[in-house]
Amino acid sequence: MLFNVNQHEAYCYTGGKLLKPELPTVVFIHGAQNDHSVWGLQSRYFAHHGYNVLAVDLPGHGRSKGPALTSIEDMAHWLLALLDAAQIQQATLVGHSMGSLVALETCANAPQRVSKLCLIGTAYPMKVSDTLLNAARDEEQTAIDMVNIWSHTSMAHKPSFPGPGFSVLGGSQRLMQRLSKINPDKLFYTDFFACNAYANGEAAAHTVQCPTLFVIGKKDMMTPPKATTTLTNIITRGKITLIENCGHSLMSEQSDAVLNTLFQFVKA
């Protein structure tokens, strides 16, 4: 589904459904150098189980036009503008990695618009190493390889994503490459720069009043479990779900476990 946000076309995957005003809405926000398709299984399930789904492509990512936004704050403003364009007054925000910071910041900016908050593969501060940041700027393919290798724990994901016969590592690599092809303007670096520069996480976390869920991969090397403690120590009422045998690509490495905890949380 396409919306006009800040004079640019904005794409959201809706699970093949039209939005219905009477249904609650769940917004899925992808991470750096990704698009809506990383939520393929979770978003489709919600869309067919009583929810409006907006799995966004952030500006400059995938099918959404316009330049990539350079700060988490700008992405959060864009997300609120998207909700306006979609005429959604309140939604559950589900963010992965960079998207989790966008969800957190959006919640701080407009708490009345956020019914629940789910932060998957999150960290604060979300520092990106100089090696990775420089690779993203100077050798994007190297950065893609680093992130792909560090984000996965296995060569054999069962039942794989989006289904049997698909290579999780191969799909993740190609998606990042495709994002670069669609937007060759150093997208990965822009996203990483935004993560690295975001400094409002603690302040934002202190404002969070809505039910919050943290979903953490036990073997996550990109945003290790200990890197979540700044946020979990502030949002003390937040529920924490640790996913076994899982790295940073939680939605594809353990699609059912992520969906189950997410659906239980949103439905409660």
């Binding site: 049997p164 698909f166 290579s167 092809k181």
Partner: protein, 436 residues
């Protein structure tokens, strides 16, 4: 070694897609001989059918043993998905039928395996899909054959029977300039010798019966999606590939290119092609092919090493008129082969013995180690004499149109001790010349 790195080829050959069996701890991949899978509850069933959860429903669509094979070949090729099917022919059919229908057009190399040639020239034509066959070395021919209704360019990595080395980078560029995918049959090269996606191809298929299985024990095909081709961009620019970019009534109005940015092709191929055409692979065969793939790198090195020695022997033999192998300077693709196939040009090649059809027959009938049969890529060495088998009704003067003579032999060099193979060939050549 510094920095992160992907597992190497041999590691992937053993581990990609396979973990110890969660039910039993079995280290080898079990053969899941089951047609179907018990749902946890009604919601689980519905969500599996509607692609909201990943899992198995019915073994025509997916099977745990087959999935290991599919994920392994995807990893070895550097693609996003594999689909195991009943044969190489089924893989070619699935690849084309997923994106082509009545009124579509394919541009194909004329240097194809006879089965592929038949499928395209006669059978697909009966279903409204036309093919233009062109010389795979002629780049202008590739370009000029493309029509508005063309859906794919197709060729073999090593053409039949002359081992034309496919210039994948150039042909892929032509395909992509026209927003078309390049499909290649990589059976003769396997991902060990050549990874077509690295060179620009978009879809790959194998007759897994050959080197991947490697032991002549199972028929099977594998279709691999590189995830490289942007179907949505091609649809936006040309209107082609509505199969992937418009709602599909046959699957709840799903738009495959929205569901997956990089694996739309594989989603449709599995959800439509396996479901409706039904040419799935038996899990028994998937197991046999997995066993073969575990040693693919080791075997291909030996296949190539033996082939080089056999070629060297034949080139200098007085009873041999010519040898066609891309590593020979006399081969028209010698330079291209050095660039694209540095590990070797495989183990299947043709040579011409001096003499008539009867000489050829004497040759094959006097071999002991080389088995006279219609297959390639076995651990055991194989031979076929086209003039007395596949082309036995074809008059001598017409054989040349197919690139063969009455004395043409096709060898598939196996893993035996190469001195024994050479001795066997010496015996055959001597017998061939006796009647001359």
């Amino acid at each position: 070694m510094s920095g992160p790195h992907y597992p190497g080829f041999d590691t992937l050959s053993l581990h990609a897609g396979a973990a110890p069996d969660p039910a039993t701890g079995a280290r080898a991949t079990p053969i899941y001989l089951t047609s179907s899978y018990v749902f946890k509850d009604s919601d689980h069933a519905a969500s599996l059918f509607n692609m909201e959860r990943a899992g198995h429903v019915y073994s025509r669509i997916s099977n745990p043993t087959n999935a290991v094979l599919e994920e392994r070949i995807a990893a070895l090729e550097g693609g996003v998905a594999g689909i195991a099917v009943a044969s190489g022919q089924a893989a070619l059919h699935l690849g084309l039928a997923t994106i082509a229908g009545a009124g579509s057009h394919i541009v194909a190399s004329r240097a194809l395996y006879g089965g592929s040639q038949n499928l395209l020239a006669y059978t697909m034509k009966r279903f409204g899909i036309e093919t233009t066959f062109i010389d795979p070395r002629d780049m202008d021919a590739w370009r000029s054959a493309i029509r508005p209704n063309t859906k794919a360019l197709f060729a073999e990595t090593l053409g039949n029977p002359g081992l034309d080395v496919l210039n994948i980078p150039e042909i892929a560029a032509i395909a992509h300039e026209n927003f078309l995918p390049l499909l290649v049959d990589s059976t003769f090269t396997t991902p060990y010798l050549l990874r077509p996606f690295d060179l620009g191809a978009d879809l790959v298929f194998h007759s897994a019966t050959k080197f991947l299985c490697g032991h002549g024990t199972a028929i099977g095909g594998l279709l691999v999606d590189g995830g490289t081709f942007d179907w949505q961009e091609a649809y936006d620019k040309t209107g082609r590939f509505s199969e992937l970019c418009e709602p599909y009534e046959g699957f709840h109005g799903m738009v495959f290119s929205e569901e997956s940015t990089v694996a739309a092709f594989s989603l449709r191929a599995r959800r439509e092609g396996l479901r409706d055409f039904g040419a799935c692979m038996s899990p028994h065969n998937a197991f046999a092919i997995l066993q073969g793939i575990e040693t693919l790198g080791l075997r291909m090195d030996r296949h190539v090493a033996n082939t080089r020695k056999v070629v060297e022997f034949l080139v200098s033999h007085p009873a041999v008129a010519s040898v066609s192998y891309p590593e020979l300077p006399t081969h028209p693709d010698y330079e291209l082969a050095k660039m694209l196939l540095p590990k070797g040009c495989g183990a299947v090649f043709s040579f011409n013995i001096k003499g008539d059809r009867a000489a050829g027959q004497r040759f094959v009938e006097s071999l002991n180690l080389f088995s006279h049969l219609a297959n390639v890529g076995d651990a055991k060495s194989l031979v076929i004499h086209p003039a007395s088998t596949t082309h036995f009704r074809v008059p001598a003067q017409q054989l040349s149109a197919s690139g063969i003579t009455e004395g043409t032999m096709r060898l598939s060099v196996g893993l035996e001790n190469v001195d024994d193979l050479i001795e066997d060939l010496s015996r055959g050549l001597k017998a061939a010349q006796k009647g001359a």
